[in-house]
């Protein structure tokens, strides 16, 4: 009997490899700091900070080529829990989650927590209700799983078609965010930078598919985490004498709350369904940091939380990754790591925004200083900040920051060497690459497995299968790049739409497919179609102001629609066949061989006998 093992496949040298990667990255940053002090021109430093890490990611991707389909589509199922969790946490929201969330925390404080809590809850729900079962099934894509579970080609094709929409939205959001950071770093326009990121993505993953993606994105996730945490930890030492910004900004925050009250920062109670997340561009602080429900109403807070939760839990760019751990137990554990890393990232983002508010408050408290501090003038010169110079006395509300530059402003405001701001930008590019590549590879695999080969459960021959996979990766990456250039929209909004659509379309169907044996193919079709249609129509109506519900909150209508569609259609039609029931019973039990691998093995044996 063939068995799965928890530790059999894992490469024991992974730690050493990533140690080397981190050393190279640290070496690059230190070297650039030395060069900065020696007076090397700024443009050289900026390009080195942009291209150096990109070369490292490409090198990781190219050094792990795939020769087997299992490697190309599932990374050989030997990614340990910690790395999977790191990748999941980083890919869930990508650069938008870091950059836009920092800015959102800065501008609306407490209310931004709805997205953070939603993400954390998404990982919890995924760990308990979805991931272990999808790991036991072991399909490379979500539509493959649904197609096999319901023994229905229409379900597979429909799921593949509907999944493409949120994946493209995510791809556009992440490429847009990454290109903005790369454009700031290199001083070039956004267009060529989108192309640079697309090329970097393709070069990284085309040779090894999922295997390249897994290892290069682990590197990217480590880089983005370090680039986020290290500058903030240094600032935390400067301000609070302790390098744990996530836990030590409490007293600072209390002081800030008092000062905000004395500065007359408004406490505006939002009505229940208000959902005023800051958009791109300059805005002044909207409300006091810790006062809840000023920009986002209480009901909208809960709805946004549940929307993001279902979106993260059912996201088709994360679920294929949980099938790449060595076993079901490791999959559950990986979600625990994802919660840890996601929480750490978001709490760091919150502390960045508190430090930034505090720095500005320090200037304001002095009344009208004859001359603004150097860092403030530098921020204005960089185009990160605007203020009303005529206002006298100077008040807190007269400063305006662009949402997506708050993260880059912190090293400047703290007077750190320029290289730290470049490092932060390089970290944003890395995080954008993680999520954008996740979406690209997921969509390319869906194209290869479920669309091009969609009418047959039997895969194409190995060579052709991987060739199609490579072409699909390049095609999807280019399509995403074109989409980003042609339709530039606020990345945060795109991300929230993506979560709303994913949650409404996939979440009810996926959960019911595991936890409700009675569900059949008609139910799946109805659930997918109802959830998707209702969510998209609600988003469109919300954006056109036909209804008083923000597009990001569409999940509250789409989710029940999807669930109802699935329930009613299943009950109104004949029950599932015996083989379907047997399959559900099997995926509910962690032990035994991976279902997908066994079916592929049996199919190969059958073909050999025939030939």
């Amino acid at each position: 009997m063939i068995t799965t093992s928890r530790t059999r496949f894992v490469n024991p040298r992974l730690g050493a490899y990533f140690g080397i990667f981190v050393s190279l990255l640290t070496g690059l940053v230190l070297l650039l700091m030395i060069f900065e002090q020696l007076g090397t021109s700024e443009i050289v430093l900026r390009w080195a900070m942009l291209l150096g890490p990109l070369v490292l990611y490409c090198a990781i991707g190219l050094s792990v080529p795939s020769r087997e389909a299992l490697d190309f589509f599932a990374s050989g199922r030997r990614v340990p829990a910690g790395y999977t969790g790191l990748g999941l946490a980083s890919a869930a929201m990508g650069a938008t989650g870091i950059v836009a969330m920092t800015g959102t925390f800065f501008l609306i404080g407490f209310d931004a927590l709805c997205l953070v809590i939603g993400g954390l809850a998404g990982f919890v729900i995924m760990a308990v209700m979805l991931a272990p079962f999808l790991r036991k099934f072991g399909a490379f894509t979500v539509p493959s799983y649904l197609g096999r579970r319901f023994e229905s080609k229409p379900v597979r094709i429909l799921a593949a078609a509907l999944i493409a929409v949120p994946l493209l939205l995510l791809l556009a959001a992440e490429l847009g965010m990454g290109a903005s950071a790369a454009a700031w770093l290199s001083g070039q326009p956004r267009g060529p930078m989108v192309l640079l990121l697309v090329v970097a993505m393709v070069v990284t993953v085309v040779v090894g598919g999922m295997r390249s993606f897994n290892w290069s994105s682990s590197g990217q996730a480590i880089a983005s985490l370090l680039a986020l945490i290290v500058p903030v930890a240094i600032v935390a030492v400067m301000v609070t004498n302790f390098p744990l910004p996530q836990l030590t900004h409490g007293p600072l925050l209390r002081q800030l709350v008092y000062n905000e009250a004395s500065q007359g920062v408004p406490v505006v109670p939002a009505s229940q369904l208000d959902f005023m997340l800051p958009g791109e561009g300059f805005a002044s602080v909207a409300k006091r940091f810790t006062a809840p429900f000023g920009s986002v109403g209480p009901l909208a807070f809960v709805i946004a939380m549940l929307t993001v939760m279902t979106g993260v839990a059912a996201s088709p760019w994360l679920l294929p990754r949980v099938t790449m751990t060595p076993g079901v137990y490791e999959t559950r554990k990986s979600l625990g790591w994802a919660t840890v890393f996601f929480g750490l990232t978001m709490l760091t983002a919150a502390s960045v925004s508190v430090f930034m508010r505090d720095f500005i408050m320090d200037v304001v408290k002095e009344g009208s200083p004859a001359r603004l501090p150097d860092w403030m003038q530098e921020l204005v010169r960089l185009g990160f900040m605007q203020f009303d110079a005529t206002a006298s006395p100077l008040i807190f509300m007269s400063f305006k920051l662009a949402r997506d530059t708050v993260l880059l402003s912190l090293p400047v405001a703290a007077g750190l060497p320029n290289v730290f701001a470049y490092l932060a930008a390089a970290g944003i590019v890395a995080a954008a690459l993680v999520a954008a590549t996740a979406a690209t590879v997921a969509l390319a695999n869906v194209l290869t497995e479920d669309v091009i080969n969609g009418l047959s459960w039997e895969p194409m021959p190995k060579g052709a299968r991987m060739l199609v996979g490579r072409i699909a990766i390049a095609g999807v990456a280019l399509l995403g790049g074109a989409f980003t250039l042609l339709a530039p929209t606020d990345p945060l909004r795109l991300l929230l739409w993506c979560f709303a659509i994913t949650g409404s379309t996939l979440f009810p169907v996926l959960v019911l497919s595991i936890w409700w044996k009675r569900m059949n193919a008609f139910g799946a079709l109805a659930g997918l179609a109802c959830g998707f249609t209702v969510a998209v129509l609600t988003i469109l109506a919300g954006e056109a102001h036909v209804i008083g519900l923000a597009g990001a909150l569409a999940g509250i209508v789409g989710l029940p629609a999807g669930a109802l569609g699935a329930l009613l259609a299943s009950l109104a039609t004949p029950g599932p066949t015996r083989s379907m029931l047997e399959l559900v019973r099997e995926i509910r039990i962690p032990g035994g061989e991976v279902v997908y691998d066994r079916e592929m093995r049996l199919m190969r044996l059958k073909n050999r006998e025939r030939g």
Partner: protein
């Protein structure tokens, strides 16, 4: 390998574990932020308590929920012989 007659009790056990992990967590994350403003008067580690519980607190609760789920579910798997062989 698991015996056939163990399937039903195993799944019943798993279902209860799922509810025990998910329901209290969901209730908590929905209710906690709604009371944040009245908790903000108190302080913990210098943070206003309502904000601290909604940010750090929920992150810790989420980590704890997944950790306890992994531990309990693994015990259930072993109890019914449904675990992976290794």
């Amino acid at each position: 390998m698991m015996e056939r007659k163990e399937r039903k009790p195993y799944w019943r056990h798993t279902k209860w574990q799922m509810l025990a992990s998910v329901v209290p967590f969901l209730v908590l994350i929905i209710v906690l932020p709604l009371y944040a403003s009245s908790l903000n008067g108190a302080k913990f580690l210098g943070f206003p308590l309502g904000y601290f519980l909604s940010a750090h607190g929920i992150a810790l609760i989420a980590i704890f929920t997944v950790a306890s789920f992994v531990n309990r579910q693994d015990a259930i798997d072993h109890w019914h012989g449904a675990h992976e062989d290794n």
